[in-house]
Symmetry: C2
Subunit: 143 residues, 2 copies
């Protein structure tokens, strides 16, 4: 099981982080990204299509085509990727699964979890890819 995001969303964040440490508009195709992230290329391909639809990355068809960041790393936040793939459900759904949990009818951990959930949102909404660059470089061997 994944922690908070779907596999597709995890992979999307990994891929965008990977692209963010490369020279601007440098194009990588699906097989290359697949190899880098050690994930099946068909799955990577599908995920990259979704990211392209939501305008986070751009694509170029045909020979020497591939994918590239649509904006500068300083203008992309992790939360955008989460929104594009998984949506905001994680930030709305009751952590204990009570169907009618809300501020008016809170579950026993509604407030405690609310704080944690807000912090998580803050984490994803605050840092841009640019700010994560150094840490990303340390994680992924860059070229």
């Amino acid at each position: 099981m994944t922690v908070l995001f779907s596999k597709k969303c995890e992979l999307a964040i990994q891929a965008v982080l990977f692209l963010s440490i490369k020279k601007e508009k440098l194009i990588y195709n699906a097989p290359a990204i697949s190899k880098e992230l050690k994930v099946p290329k068909e799955f990577v391909s599908k995920m990259l299509q979704t990211l392209t639809e939501s305008g986070i990355i751009g694509s170029k068809k045909g020979k020497n085509g591939g994918f590239y960041l649509a904006r500068k790393p300083s203008q992309i936040k992790l939360i955008e990727i989460v929104e594009a793939i998984d949506g905001y459900d994680v930030f709305k759904t009751c952590v204990l699964g009570f169907p009618d949990c809300g501020d008016e009818n809170p579950c026993p951990v509604h407030d405690s979890w609310g704080n944690i959930r807000d912090e998580t949102y803050h984490m994803l909404n605050n840092e841009t890819l640019e700010q994560l660059k150094e840490k990303t470089l340390r994680k992924i061997i860059s070229s």
Copy 2:
């Protein structure tokens, strides 16, 4: 998708919270708990078996049998239920899905997520069912 726990685990927490506001050793059978939590009784039944194996609740077979809290609400923490059903994977797995993420080779959000994860653990480890009783009563109509 669920937020952090499996469906079975969410249900387990709900069920134990439900039992915690009842008189000690008062027995409820699977159909009754199923009705209360509005979840299929077979699924409730399976989950209650797992909780019984791990000693959080007790069971009584035969006519007028059912399930009851094995210990006092002041001696049961939410984290025990999570451990019994889902295990500690949520607290170990990389939130971005990097297979080799750890303190030596951290992902870009390893530290930030680490704090949030620790807070979550703290939330589940700190409060006992007894302390949640009031909030639970407000959520679940008691008898």
